[in-house]
């Protein structure tokens, strides 16, 4: 029994998983509406995009990089669809906008790898470029999202579980990619010891560029789904918020900012914790202002606990 407990606590996700369960139990007791069907749907829709951005950021944090433009890519992709739809059918417009997202990711990656600009700065620049582009191209006027009707709209956002399931699917793919494939291993190796990985023959530049492409594509895709569900586009929505929620989910879940240590599973749980907190606070009638304060406290506490647990287990593993 003790060994099982020790083993469980050696995993970075365990603490946050317990916190998550505790929060769900607490809010369920305080308000029975918490586990009602409609509320669970609402939560799934809120958690989905955070989990996807978080899963993408996990790839980059694993590399000891970060993508600050991910949230803005998420918000910009549906605008691409709206603009492109004037020139082509909806399906093509979505495909073309995904390609544009991939190009944005590739651009980020190449700037970081070739010009050696720190990713923090390079992607911050990209974030403002995209935010500015949306404001200019939309003339700062709110627009209806296209593709919100019929079976298509239902599958790609309108139906209750569409956004949650698409998000879950994407997160599971990233999880499998990081955990089970050569590419995932090379990502962790690059983040853990870039020079060493290169000396062992890992193509670290390609790995990095590919990670920037992946995060841009998945964020763009979930952004389109999210907009189809909501039905309208707000040109002034701040992408940095979406991005920071994703990074918070990753960090709460036990991913290190320093590279070489990443957990997609933990990120998913981290996103659920953020969603449960926001929704739960709403239900029991605490103002949204408190939510932000509590979110901050949760991030600090989770980080503190994870760092301490990491120290303990590292010491335990030493022969």
């Amino acid at each position: 029994m003790r060994r099982v407990v020790d083993k469980a606590f050696a995993r970075p996700e365990t603490t946050i998983f317990l916190v998550c369960i505790a929060l769900i139990v607490y809010f369920s007791i305080r308000n029975a509406n918490f586990y009602s069907y409609t509320n669970v749907v609402t939560m799934a829709q809120y958690i989905g995009p955070i989990a996807v951005v978080g899963a993408g950021e996990v790839l980059l944090l694993d590399l000891a990089e970060i993508d600050l433009s991910a949230g803005q890519v998420l918000l910009t992709a549906p605008w691409f669809v709206v603009f492109l739809q004037h020139h082509m059918p909806l399906g093509w417009a979505i495909a073309a906008s995904m390609l544009l997202c991939a190009a944005i990711g590739a651009f980020n990656g190449i700037i970081v790898v070739s010009l050696k600009v720190p990713s923090f700065v390079a992607t911050l620049g990209m974030n403002y470029i995209l935010a500015g582009y949306v404001l200019v191209a939309s003339s700062d006027i709110e627009t209806d999202m296209t593709g919100t009707t019929g079976k298509f709209g239902s599958v790609f956002g309108i139906s209750n579980w569409a956004e949650g399931l698409w998000s879950l699917g994407i997160v599971l793919i990233i999880w499998a990619l990081l955990k089970g494939t050569r590419f995932g291993l090379h990502t962790t190796a690059t983040g853990g010891n870039q020079l060493g990985a290169a000396e062992a023959g890992v193509r670290v530049r390609n790995v990095k560029i590919l990670c920037f492409i992946i995060i841009a594509v998945i964020c763009g895709f979930i952004g389109i789904i999210d907009s189809i569900r909501i039905g309208s586009l707000d040109p002034a929505a701040p992408g940095l918020n979406e991005m920071l929620a994703g990074v918070a989910a990753a960090v709460i879940g036990g991913t290190a900012l320093t590279g070489g240590k990443a957990t997609v599973l933990g990120t998913m749980i981290g996103a659920v914790v953020l969603g449960v907190l926001e929704d739960g606070f709403n239900l029991i009638g605490i103002s949204a202002n408190w939510f932000i304060l509590v979110e901050g406290a949760v991030i600090l506490a989770a980080m503190g606990i994870n760092v301490q647990l990491g120290r303990v287990t590292a010491r335990g593993a030493r022969p």
């Binding site: 853990g192 060493g196 990985a197």
Partner: protein
């Protein structure tokens, strides 16, 4: 998989056109370009390796011969070009002039991959390990066993199995092949790096200061492993080290690299720590007195 080096090829000398003069003194061949093998089973040989960095000439014609199964110690002052020399041998850098022969055939290395395809592997001073990955993951890094081709699905179970078996073959004691490298001691990390270099068919292993900054117990682990690789797995090695005691324990032969040349090539039985020290120090004194001469003239 590791016994490739054991397969001796006595017809080695037949590969080289000028063979058949067993009495050849190695010194007489220097710079002449004769490829006579003097009947010895030489796996790696260099001829007149020269390397410049801008105006600085680091290597001025280095001739080295590594016999099969031999451990060759390469000694020299800091900045004498030892590391540059092994980096040329492993394909990381290219020589300006000179030739490299593997088993009597001239080769040209354009990349580390090229050198690897000839069975030449290097363990860098920094080991090139990823601390956060497990022993198995490091052992197979970039040469993973995979399923489904391009998708690259890892065969973790098979890799773990092979890792376990390989470390027990090498008689290296590790806490677990699933332990992360950051949890290992310095000696164990060196063992993982050595194992990675020799797991595939390494015939020549280049070790750049494998015992640097290691305690006595740690060193013993590495020395035992190097001896085992050389005696039981037929791997030939070139070892760079500053510690003569270690080198005399490890090596069959010692070469001193100084002023861009090999100034001494002797079996360990034929020389002594005192002789090596004397040689190195006398060179140093000569330089100092030359320097003083120059100062006086100026």
């Amino acid at each position: 998989m590791t016994d490739a080096g054991l397969a001796r090829s006595p017809d080695e000398a037949a590969d080289s056109p000028g063979a058949g003069t067993p009495a050849n003194d190695p010194a007489s061949q220097v710079g002449v370009g004769v490829t006579a093998e003097s009947g010895e089973d030489v796996i790696l040989r260099t001829e007149g390796i020269t390397k410049r960095f801008g105006a600085l000439i680091v290597l001025r014609g280095v001739d080295v011969r590594l016999r099969r199964g031999e451990v060759l110690g390469l000694v020299g002052d800091n900045g004498s070009g030892k590391s540059t020399f092994v980096k040329i041998l492993c394909g990381f850098q290219r020589q300006d002039e000179g030739k490299i022969f593997v088993e009597g055939k001239e080769v040209s290395f354009r990349s580390v991959q090229d050198a690897r395809s000839h069975g030449i592997e290097i363990v860098y001073q920094d080991l090139a390990l990823v601390p956060q990955l497990t022993v198995t993951q490091n052992l197979f890094l970039n040469r993973e066993l995979i399923l489904f081709g391009r998708l690259g699905w890892l065969r973790n179970r098979a890799m773990r199995e092979q890792a376990r078996k390989y470390f027990s073959d090498l008689k290296v004691d590790l806490p677990s092949v699933d332990a992360t490298v950051e949890a290992l001691s310095g000696g164990q990390r060196q063992a993982v790096a050595l194992a990675r270099a020799t797991r595939t068919e390494a015939r020549v292993l280049l070790l750049d200061e494998p015992l640097a900054a290691m305690g006595a117990k740690e060193s013993a682990l590495v020395i035992d492993l190097v001896k085992d690789l050389s005696h039981n797995h037929g791997v030939s090695m070139i070892v760079i080290d500053h510690n003569y005691t270690h080198l005399f324990e490890l090596c069959d032969r010692i070469n001193i690299l100084q002023g861009g040349h090999i100034i001494l090539d002797q079996r360990v039985e034929e020389t002594s720590i005192e002789e090596l020290t004397e040689l190195m120090v006398s060179e140093y004194r000569k330089k100092v007195s030359e320097g003083q001469e120059e100062l006086r003239h100026a």
